[in-house]
Amino acid sequence: MAEDNCQCGESGFKKLAEYIRQFPDKKTALIKVLYEAQHIFGFLSKDVMLFVADKLDVPAAKISGVVSFYSYFTTTPKGRTQIKCCMGTACFVRGAEKIISRFEEKLNIKRGETGADLEYSLDSLRCVGACGLAPVVLVNDQVFGKLEAADVDTILANNQG
């Protein structure tokens, strides 16, 4: 079973199994379950996907297809702080590139990467729907808007506190 060789702790799988139990129609619950699984584990490992496949009776190939299709899902561990810079049109023209470059410089990781210490991940995304605040950055679930490159330093300094 998937539980035996997972590093994430058995409690995570128990929690996920509990969550799955509430769905009477297992086959249509896939996206919700994957969403919850990523919430629990931080990312979707092969073991987690096989666990979901088994519990929902959905082929692992299909789960793999869904997970690799949606950019929301990730199969690699992410940092404790996830920084997502909006690169949508409005943010882009208002200097998003400068913001993300500053993050790359300060964190010493490229966009799409996670630091070796698993402290930070840096990603770009397309339009969070807050164009009035452009350029926008999401730090975990918190939104920062109308940023300038110098604000990046403040955000990181505050995050460490």
Binding site: K46, M49, L50, A53, D54, P59, A60, A61, K62, I63, S64, G65, S68, F69
Partner: protein, 578 residues
């Protein structure tokens, strides 16, 4: 009915038909690529993903894909306006712009649907260039190669794997430019639930999926003077090989095939049908034993390696249900390297057993650990019908004009029962011919079990065996097998014997056969060829084969003897369902 006009001609088709269906009725040709429809086996791939079949519909702003656009009353369709022709060309050029231009050395050369389409549209110049997809070629399977750089994303393979076979090994993966079709986590296919049935290979329009080519290995073995190289040919091969040389479907080419194999330089030319008769001896005995001693019923046939791996993955709680008999291919090898070697006074270590199969899963089967007792494989090299056709062409043999020759004795002799193994229902029919006589002690006069023949996915019959009704079922296509097995597991259905073949229609539709390109009538003709050959045989019951009798008298003793068990039976492995 809906009436519409195509190129000014009126046509009436049932509601729900597509423009392509209506055009077909008028004999109007619209080129297609991704579309694949095998109505009889319930395969419908019309993802409209390739956009090759675009047509102009009056009043519609953009072009419509003919394969996926339902007809509407009064529709006015044009299939070759300048706009249509240009759009098709652009679409095909775009596909080709991301396709390797290695046609000359491609395994699908002259058999590729994309190549044919490019020729049909006279593509001389590809007006687009840029980045191309870079996928690692997957050589993990002993049965087939996956080169996704040649994939056109038609999804036929995925449709076959999930809808028809329910193997569910394949899925669309990733998105945008990196989109591909592959197993879970894009892992090596050999690690997935794939059973190597090869139905995906059979319908892939390009060489994204192609069988592992063992032709070179066979030539090397034949050229090696230290080796004694023998060949066996499966029943279904003779029913389809002629197609590769322009002979009409359904013309059996048994004699020409034997002649060609002898011309290659094989030391002996034998017939897997002999081993099919042997399989019946063991399988019918096993059935009667289970019947008389309250053993596990139903008994499931185990000739088909795709089916075997399927139940190992999907029904691993029922591993005691299938017969323990090896397949005819493997029985042949096991007997060749023991009894035959002794008969011919050949060192078994120098013997190379080559088999020609309609199937790519046989390549995988030959490599299974259970099939190499003491580390010596029963069968050394497996070719498909297509590879045999390639060898015949390489050798420059004018196949159609060859004179018929026979197989060598003793392992070339077979009964009609062995021949029909190649068609869905044939193994069961052969087993019944023998089991009936053994149980009743009477001669079976009517040897044709018509209810068990034909293309239907599931066939059922009840046979009166001396007052005992024996209920049997036949499934071909793994989706049908799943349906049957699930009903049995749930206790809804009860049978004594079930035959399962992974490929729809049985081995005549195997993944290693000449490409039928969606023509079910070809499959029916191949089936007919086998039943005709059965009918012309004097001996039509496996236990009447004189050389089978000799084999038991001189070597094996009796069915299920200790030696028979050691050589002719196997065991199964529990595999993850995933």
């Amino acid at each position: 009915m809906v009436s519409l006009k195509i190129n000014g001609k009126s046509v009436e088709v049932p509601e729900g038909s597509t423009i392509l269906d209506a055009a077909g009725k008028l004999g109007v040709h619209i080129p297609t690529l991704c579309r694949f429809d095998l109505h009889d086996i319930n395969l419908h791939n019309q993802g409209a993903s390739c956009r090759v079949c675009m047509v102009e519909v009056a009043g519609r702003r953009n072009l419509a894909p003919a394969c996926a656009t339902p007809v509407m009353e009064g529709m006015d369709v044009k299939t070759h306006t300048p706009k249509v022709i240009n759009a098709r060309r652009v679409v095909v050029e775009l596909i080709l712009s991301n396709h390797p231009k290695t046609c000359l050395t491609c395994p699908k050369n002259t058999n590729c649907e994309l190549q044919a389409l490019a020729a049909e549209l006279s593509i001389g110049n590809i007006g687009f260039s840029g980045k191309t997809t870079q996928h690692k070629i997957d050589y993990s399977s002993p049965a087939y190669v996956r080169d996704m750089n040649k994939c056109v994303l038609c999804r036929r393979c995925e449709t076959m794997c999930t809808q028809v076979q329910t193997v569910n090994a394949l899925s669309g993966l990733n998105r945008g430019f990196t989109t591909t079709v592959g197993p879970a986590f894009n892992m090596p296919i050999a690690e997935s639930t794939c059973v190597s049935c090869g139905q995906c290979v059979a319908i892939c329009p390009t060489a994204a999926l192609s069988e592992v080519n063992n032709v070179g290995k066979v030539w090397d073995a034949i050229r090696n003077p230290d080796k004694f190289v023998i060949v066996q040919t499966a029943p279904a091969v003779r029913a389809a090989l002629g197609e590769a040389f322009g002979l009409p479907a359904g013309v059996p080419v048994t004699g020409k095939m034997a002649a060609a194999l002898r011309m290659f330089g094989f030391d002996k030319v034998y017939d897997t049908d002999f081993a099919a008769d042997l399989t019946i001896m063991e399988e019918a005995s096993e059935f009667i034993h289970r019947l008389k001693h309250g053993g596990r019923l139903p008994i499931l046939t185990s000739c088909c390696p795709g089916w075997v791996k399927f139940f190992e993955h999907q029904f691993s709680d029922m591993l005691d249900v299938p017969s323990t008999c090896k397949s005819p291919q493997q029985m042949f090898g096991a007997i060749a390297k023991t009894w035959l070697a002794k008969e011919l006074k050949v060192d078994p270590a120098k013997m190379v057993v080559v088999s020609v199969m309609p199937c790519i899963a046989k390549k995988y089967e030959a490599g299974r650990a259970e099939m190499a007792p003491g580390g010596v494989p029963d069968v050394d090299i497996v070719l498909t019908t297509r590879e045999l056709a390639k060898m015949i062409r390489e050798a420059g043999i004018n196949f159609a004009q060859l004179d018929d020759e026979g197989f060598d004795d003793p392992m070339g002799e077979s009964t009609g029962a062995g021949v029909i193994f190649g068609a869905s229902g044939g193994v069961l029919e052969a087993a019944l011919r023998t089991a009936y006589e053994w149980i009743t002690g009477k001669t079976l006069d009517k040897v044709d079990f018509m209810d068990l023949r034909g293309m239907s996915g599931i066939k059922e019959a009840t046979i009166d065996v001396a007052g005992t009704p024996v209920s049997v079922a036949v499934a071909s296509g793994l989706g049908n097998a799943r349906q049957l097995l699930e009903a049995i597991r749930a206790g809804e259905k009860q049978y004594h014997v079930i035959e399962v073949m992974a490929c729809p229609g049985g081995c005549i539709d195997g993944g290693g056969q000449p490409y039928h390109k969606g023509h079910v009538d070809v499959l029916l003709k191949r089936m007919e060829a086998l039943y005709t050959e059965d009918k012309t045989k004097v001996l039509r019951k496996s236990h009447e084969n004189p050389f089978i009798k000799k084999l038991y008298a001189e070597f094996l003793g009796e069915p299920h003897s200790e030696l028979a068990h050691k050589l002719l039976h196997t065991s199964y492995v529990k595999r993850p369902r995933m």
